[in-house]
């Protein structure tokens, strides 16, 4: 095992490995002439090859194994069928693990490289670049340009640039954005959709809890694991933070969190203390519903979408279904919508005959009807008690972040403000610190015992004192709920050794011995 270091984004990884005296970075481009053949004897990158049979989807696949690589001895024709591509690579990875690099010769179509990298291919080549180049095809960022000249060198350069960019995509956790945007080949789009739809379960298991960016561009974004996680939480496990019986649905805003947008500020001003009596939920896409107290978390606090006032049928359907489920799950008696004209499809689809107020932005008295409606409902009910918005927010975020199981351990905590940060404290001891920038809670060592007792978000390490980083080599075990970028508790045999942020999903953490598994918080 000679991988020196590696870091992940879902199945993709960057890092370096050693061979002899030299060190190589990956993902990388296999140089021309890397295979040396002599009848049955084959060498790759100056490494001896042996043949190994691996069972992938009930098919025996011959694989070349070297010191650092696994190379399937299959032709790349599986790429013709994207379903086969996705299944083959994901299932192959399950068999071969992460201790060696996966190279599949001949699949390096520049318009598919980011997608194949997302599936876990670690090494690429310039074979296609050279074949197509010699046929007069120039790779460009807008597609294939055929002008009959020999473009092999430019095409190889093009591949190098893509590799450079996807490496950065892992570092900055923006690889998914690249894959969604690199849309020159229909095959690429197919791979992405099949990965998210048919293999969504597997993909979610390795997908980071938070990423560097969510510029939700199209329908594919509806299936992104991070979006799906949030949507299914809100329409599933989510419970309102209080016993209020009135919910107000509002439109989204470009500025995040929504509260800081001009439009939401205007609503706040118009409603004043009436807000105490209602729960607010923002309607949007591809995240469908965002309860106000979750608006600072990931992804709702971080996404952007193209806004045109038109909605795809699928978005409409998602929104309407989510609203129905949400109202039912949280048993709201009074439902008020305050939405722009382009969202009146909700009214039609849900067959609503009252309390659907069209927000005519900019008109005088635009908030009058809304205010009157709420006032009327509130006056019918008893006067609300004092309401702690901040506490509701932190408890709600904790439940989203760690799961509903945490509620009883957190509801009794008090809020304290220290060093310009909000904390959930027990007595004088900080338990959780709210990171406002990331919209999430960090676990303080004082609260670590809760996680140990509940067997959640735990990384068990060998008997050592963790310093800055825990390498996966030192990890003995971890709980299945862990995804990359999660807050975790580090322990050894139940004895707490620290807290930190996981840099690998549980599956990968257990399958590789190289790379940082947890960044330790001091």
């Amino acid at each position: 095992m000679v991988i020196k270091s590696q870091s992940f984004f879902a199945y993709s990884r960057i890092g370096s490995y050693n061979h002899g005296e030299s060190s190589y970075d990956f993902p990388f481009i296999v140089p021309v002439g890397s295979f040396i053949r002599n009848n049955d004897d084959l060498r790759f990158m100056d490494e001896e090859c042996s043949i190994k049979n691996v069972n992938v989807r009930n098919r025996e696949i011959k694989i070349l194994e070297t010191e650092n690589f696994f190379i399937p001895m299959t032709t790349p024709f599986f790429l013709k069928r994207s379903k086969q591509t996705v299944n083959f690579i994901i299932d192959l990875k399950k068999e071969i693990g992460y201790e060696k690099l996966l190279y599949i010769p001949g699949v390096s179509d520049p318009y598919l490289i980011p997608h194949l990298f997302s599936l876990g291919v670690d090494a690429f080549d310039t074979i296609n670049a050279s074949v197509e180049g010699s046929h007069g095809v120039l790779y460009t960022m807008m597609g294939r340009l055929n002008n009959g000249m020999d473009h092999s060198p430019e095409n190889a350069e093009f591949i190098h640039n893509i590799i450079f960019l996807i490496k950065n995509g892992v570092d900055s956790l923006t690889l998914m954005e690249m894959v969604e945007r690199w849309n020159i080949s229909s095959k690429g789009r197919e791979i992405l959709r099949i990965l998210e739809e048919s293999r969504g379960g597997d993909f979610e298991e390795v997908y980071p809890r938070t990423t560097g960016s969510v510029i939700a561009g199209g329908l594919e974004s509806l299936e992104r694991p991070d979006i799906l996680r949030f949507n299914s939480y809100v329409t599933g496990d989510y419970k309102k933070s209080n016993d209020l019986e009135t919910v107000l649905f509002l439109p989204c805003a470009a500025r995040k969190p929504y509260s800081q947008s001009r439009s939401h500020q205007a609503i706040f001003e118009a409603l004043g203390s009436l807000r105490k009596h209602i729960n607010e939920v923002i309607v949007t896409s591809p995240i469908t519903l965002v309860p106000r107290e979750l608006e600072e978390t990931y992804p709702p606090g971080f996404y952007d979408i193209p806004v045109t006032g038109n909605w795809f049928l699928e978005e409409k359907e998602n929104i309407v279904n989510s609203i129905e489920m949400f109202i039912q799950n949280n048993q709201y008696k009074n439902v008020i919508f305050f939405l722009p004209e382009d969202m009146s499809f909700i009214k039609e689809k849900l067959n609503i005959d009252q309390n659907f107020i069209i927000w005519k932005k900019g008109e005088s008295g635009e908030f009058d009807t809304l205010r009157e409606t709420i006032s009327e409902i509130v006056s019918r009910e008893r006067d609300g008690q004092k309401r702690d918005f901040l506490k509701e927010k932190l408890v709600s975020i904790a439940q989203y972040q760690f799961g509903p199981w945490i509620k009883p351990f957190i509801s009794g905590l008090r809020i304290n403000r220290m060093f310009n940060q909000f904390m959930l404290v027990e007595g004088n001891k900080p338990y959780f610190v709210y990171n406002e920038r990331l919209g999430k809670l960090t676990i303080h060592r004082n609260a670590a015992h809760i996680f140990v007792e509940q067997n959640r978000f735990l990384v068990e390490i060998d008997n050592f004192k963790p310093t800055a980083n825990i390498y996966s080599m030192g990890v003995l075990n971890c709980t299945e709920d862990i995804r990359q970028e999660d807050e975790v508790v580090i322990h050894h045999g139940g004895e707490i050794r620290g807290t930190g942020i996981s840099k690998m999903s549980h599956q990968i953490m257990l399958k590789t011995k190289k790379g940082i598994a947890v960044k330790v918080r001091n």
């Binding site: 002439g33 295979f35 001895m73 032709t75 024709f77 010769p105 179509d109 046929h135 807008m142 055929n146």
Partner: protein, 352 residues
């Protein structure tokens, strides 16, 4: 000598050899140019319909689809009728090449009675004869018998490659190069002529590997052969090669490769010829850009043993695609049709 897995796979693709084809008519007859007497002459070719190669009882060669032409119920009488028809077909030619989807000298395929009938009948018309055989039927006894009819005969043997690894693991011929050498020596002792057939680009081999294998094989066969026929792969039905080709895992050789083998073996002692079957077609040797001219030049050079025009044409041609293909294939651990793959994979992408 035999790769069992390969043999089994080839066998599994073979259709039943029970047929209801006309047992009295040869598979095919035509006239073509060849140089069996050292100069270009019109030559009759007859493919007799027989029960087929005895190797078929076990398996077949990976490229051979001649089993598609056999009929298991061919009697001696049927063969005699076919021989009569062949005889009648030879109107102006005096040179005959007899093919049989197997070995003419194999008595299970061409029983002694039919063989004697053939030799006797043809001896008054045929001045030069070529028959084909696997090495095992080239024995002193049979050679003496052939000679007894006084027909000047050249025996053609499918060597395919002089590399036993290739023969065993890529061609599935069930023989070895030393068996060929033994057969060649028997022919020499009997003062009989030998034409060696070589296969250019067996499956599982890169283009460059195929060229080098063919060049080496020409050199290895030359001391024993009167002429060497380099046969670029053509895809025949129901063969392993066809199966690979359909999956995109095999591409017939480029015509440039045929040219290279011919040009690079000009100095060997025997004649080297190539009449590419299916040349410039999808199932035969072809370049990326279709070009009948190369095929014509290959034929003419082979026929006249004058390679100057071919060499000149080759040197002037734009061979960049071919060269890129060679280089790229060497980057692959297994072989497939790179161009066909890339065509398929780039089909659904933006083209400016």
């Amino acid at each position: 000598m035999i790769n069992r897995d390969l043999a089994r796979e080839v066998k599994s693709l073979m259709p039943s050899r029970e047929r209801d084809t006309d047992r009295n008519s040869p598979v095919s007859m035509w006239n073509e140019m060849d140089r069996l007497r050292g100069t270009p002459e019109e030559t009759t070719v007859v493919i007799l319909r027989t029960r087929g190669c005895s190797w078929y009882d076990f398996s077949s060669c990976s490229m051979c689809g001649y089993f598609n032409d056999v009929n298991t119920n061919i009697s001696v009488d049927n063969l005699k009728v076919q021989i009569d028809r062949a005889y009648d077909f030879m109107e102006r030619t005096r040179i005959l090449k007899i093919f049989t989807s197997g070995s003419f000298l194999d008595q299970r395929e061409v029983p002694e009675e039919a063989f004697n009938y053939f030799m006797k009948k043809m001896s008054d018309k045929v001045e030069k004869l070529l028959v084909e055989s696997r090495t095992e039927y080239v024995t002193d006894k049979i050679m003496k018998k052939v000679k007894s009819y006084g027909v000047d005969t050249r025996i053609a043997i499918g060597v395919e490659s002089s590399n036993d690894y290739v023969i065993k693991n890529m061609v599935n011929k069930g023989t070895t190069f030393s068996k060929f050498i033994n057969a060649a020596k028997i022919l020499k002792n009997n003062k009989m002529e030998l034409r060696s057939y070589l296969l250019l680009k067996p499956p599982y081999m890169s283009e460059e590997g195929g060229v080098q294998d063919a060049i080496q094989s020409v050199k290895d066969c030359a001391p024993y052969s009167d002429d060497i026929s380099v046969n670029p792969m053509n895809i025949q039905k129901n063969t392993l090669v066809e199966k690979l080709w359909k999956k995109g895992e095999y591409r017939p050789p480029w015509l440039w490769s045929v040219v290279r083998v011919l040009l690079e073996t000009q100095n060997v002692k025997s004649d080297v010829i190539s009449y590419p079957t299916g040349g410039d077609r999808e199932r035969g040797a072809h370049n990326d850009d279709r070009n009948q001219e190369v095929v014509k030049l290959i034929f003419n050079a082979s026929l006249n043993q004058d390679f100057r025009d071919l060499e000149d044409y080759y040197n002037r041609a734009d061979k960049r695609k071919y060269m890129a293909h060679l280089k790229n294939e060497e980057c692959l651990p297994i072989q497939y049709d790179l161009d066909s793959f890339i065509r398929k994979i780039s089909a659904g992408s933006v083209k400016i």
